[in-house]
Symmetry: C2
Subunit: 475 residues, 2 copies
């Protein structure tokens, strides 16, 4: 399957099918990604205004065998949005398709175009007295189409699920340029294969999402936030069970933090106020969203008392105001920035079965130590309630990541091998993109991989959609 | 694609690869389905004990081009489990694969083999102090593999989702006999295309589910049940919004009932105690499952008061005991049996966007009346909170369905055309099976259908898996 460049002949062929301004040279910002690992090839940028224009573009690319790289907010962390090699691609940015097409509060449904910024989708839901619970650090620039294409996670997965769980239907342009009109507002519809979930998480390799029908939720009547010091990860998991027994689905987030992260935060951002004078080895941030008639502060106090009694907590801070809630969340949310400032040797977005986390943490520390340079620092933190840890390995104090560059691959391999031992995932929420195609081949189930390849070839026979993402070319 | 019969040569080839007793002639009960519309062809029955045996069987069928019909509990209502024509198939019943392979309460996960009866899965969860919320009339005989293959719905979808939303991972045998090991206990895993959701709802046409990793939930601390009389379907929807504002996710079920159903019940099963002396035109059954600290009866009383004030309810019964709760549910759950005893001309398992339901009901009544025989009776009831109505059309009092047989297709077409006008689904929870393949072609999105066909051909090139189900053969 040879692909062709989006050259001047391609532009000329398209020009009279599209309004002026849709096609333009690609600005350098479309060729970068946040981690700076990939430099996208210059290509043709298209900023269509409608689904029909997207279809025109993809159909032309299909006919001319030109690669298409769908572009959302550009916040992806695995290089899915930039194509560093091969013929010059057509970059398809949906930034002009940002309409909220409809809000249906009685149905808890909102329909948004794929280019809508996640924060704007959240705001439109709030305005209608509803919650769109997908929430993540990049929400101010990530676009909903990209969130769905990558099945984004974030801090509310424990309660509300991943992006796929928040999607009722899609409108999408398939690799041949056909438009699938699947913007269902239905909660139940058993009419054939689940094309929606196939596109969600396919990272632009099976088509371009142009709009989505999204599930809204009631806004919890009252929220509460606390940070409890726990004696161990094992205790953190038991605490989660205890909290569920007491509060059912009222737990919106349950985030693990380690002393190392708090230390990085103190070092790089001393202005961020920390909850404890002395940073504990392990603590958890608990967020509640409760129905009318329940007092979150009281519920958290009850939980703390029960946890103390069961030796599952040693100390705790329960926010007494919105400002205090925000302060606790700021600690959790600035840890990734502190990590960036310190500079990790290797970062890992992993998940393991929840009850295996303590064992994984122990064996992870041992395995990293066995690499022979006993001084690396580990910051393991994240969405404990989902089994999703950000497991980041850093240089010893006073050293730089450069000094460990030669170990980067070994560290990554060590962590991912261990994850595989635990039947875990080496990409819990960020996806495969171009960064993890090798990992997918190494750790993925071969039968699943063969099925994926068959599906890709069936729906995109020329291989134009985001070549090299998810599945390597020529494999 | 010509398929061959599961003949004696096929049996002979398989015999030495399988333990004795796995292969047998198919008992007549495997050739029937609950509605008596389809008579399955006699074929070879296989009752494998393990996933490896399933793989051996499917691989042999793949090589010999023999059709395979997966068989669960046999409770499906659209003929997906019986193949009435073509070469004698291999019937694959997973009734010997019923193990609960593991329960992980701290993770809210349970792993069951596909042949486990739904009620046994529920019981295993309960034993571990957890809830497996999938609940439907056939739960005493339906098997979890079939529930997943058909993406079963039921009464708790409003709160917990459909079968697909309760599944974390699958083990399955693909049409070439390969085993996909995808029994993930992970909540987050973004490593490639969503094969799980592709198999869920594919009704055995893309492979055979052999085991599933299932999501459990906390058991609500307290449950409550009420039936409120509402002035109209519009009021019922407004009442649902009001209830959500007050109780958030605490609403487990919200079921609409019509006077016609209560009248059928009184006529056919007078022993079932009804909540109101005079059957109201419309009423809703509300089920709450609340967290600790909330009293469901009090919450329902508060809701009733607010509803009364807003003219959304006119009368109500709030259960004061488990026995009373059960009595209210008995009314809802025996309506389908009453319908069967009366004998519908045509039944429809449909969904429309929730806020369109009142308009749909009005226009449905008008359209049926326009068919020229103004005396047909309509019983419209079901899962209002999911937009999923069972819309059943009956003979006039004193007449039999036989007298309307010539109208059956017209009635069905009228209802389904109207559903299509409302962007609804003509199969909300029962699936396509063999009964609705024509409807799928008529009402389905052609782009989606083409994609489905491409996926089917890619994964099952010889077309052996449940031929004629979901997609018609030769289309």
């Amino acid at each position: 399957m040879t692909l062709n460049s989006a050259d001047s002949a391609f532009v000329a062929r398209l020009a009279d099918q599209l309004p002026e301004g849709v096609l333009r040279p690609a600005d350098p910002r479309y060729l970068e990604e946040p981690r700076g690992r990939y430099q996208g090839q210059a290509g043709l940028l298209a900023v269509p205004h409608s689904t029909e224009e997207v279809a025109t573009l993809v159909r032309a690319a299909h006919e001319a065998r030109v690669p298409v790289v769908p572009y959302g907010g550009g916040t992806g962390l695995v290089g899915g949005q930039v194509m560093p090699e091969g013929p010059a691609p057509l970059l398809l940015s949906l930034e002009k398709m940002t309409a909220i097409r409809g809000v249906y509060p009685a149905e808890n449904v909102l329909i948004a175009e794929a280019g809508a910024i996640l924060a704007d989708v959240q705001a439109a839901a709030t305005e209608a007295g509803r919650l769109f619970p997908l929430s993540l650090a990049a929400e101010g620039s990530a676009r909903i189409g990209g969130n769905l294409a990558t099945n984004a996670g974030g801090v509310n997965v424990l309660r509300y699920g991943n992006a796929r769980d928040l999607c009722l239907g899609l409108e999408a342009v398939l690799p041949n340029g056909d438009i699938w009109h699947g913007l269902s507002r239905l909660r139940k519809d058993n009419t054939g294969y689940d094309l929606r979930n196939l596109l969600v998480g396919s990272e632009g390799s099976l088509g371009v999402i142009t709009a989505a029908s999204l599930k809204l939720s009631p806004i919890p009547a009252a929220q509460g936030t606390a940070v409890f010091v726990v004696p161990s990860p094992q205790a953190a998991i038991a605490l989660l069970s205890l909290a569920r027994d007491q509060l059912g689905e009222g737990i919106s987030a349950f985030e693990l933090m380690h002393r190392q992260g708090l230390a990085f935060l103190a070092e790089t951002m001393p202005q961020v106020r920390q909850p404890f004078a002395e940073a504990p080895e392990w603590c958890v941030l608990i967020e509640l969203g409760l129905a009318r008639g329940l007092d979150p502060e009281e519920a958290l106090a009850d939980l703390f008392e029960a946890a103390l009694e069961a030796d599952l907590a040693q100390d705790g801070v329960i926010a007494q105001s919105a400002a205090q809630r925000e302060a606790l969340w700021t600690v959790r949310e600035t840890i990734p920035e502190a990590n960036r400032l310190i500079g990790a040797i290797s970062s890992h977005d992993i998940s393991v079965p929840i009850s295996e986390i303590p064992d994984f943490i122990t064996r992870g520390g041992e395995a990293i130590a066995r690499l022979g340079v006993g001084d690396m620092r580990i910051n393991c933190f994240g969405h404990l309630g989902d089994g999703n840890l950000h497991y980041n390995v850093f240089p010893a104090a006073g050293k730089t990541r450069k000094e460990y560059e030669h170990l980067r691959e070994d560290v990554k391999r060590t962590v991912h091998d261990l994850v595989a031992d635990f039947d875990g995932s080496m990409s819990a929420e960020h996806g495969i993109g171009r960064m993890k195609t090798g990992d997918l081949e190494r750790y993925g189930d071969p039968v699943k991989l063969a099925a994926m390849r068959a599906i890709k070839d069936a729906l995109d026979p020329h291989g134009i959609m985001n070549p090299g993402a998810v599945l390597r070319q020529g494999t």
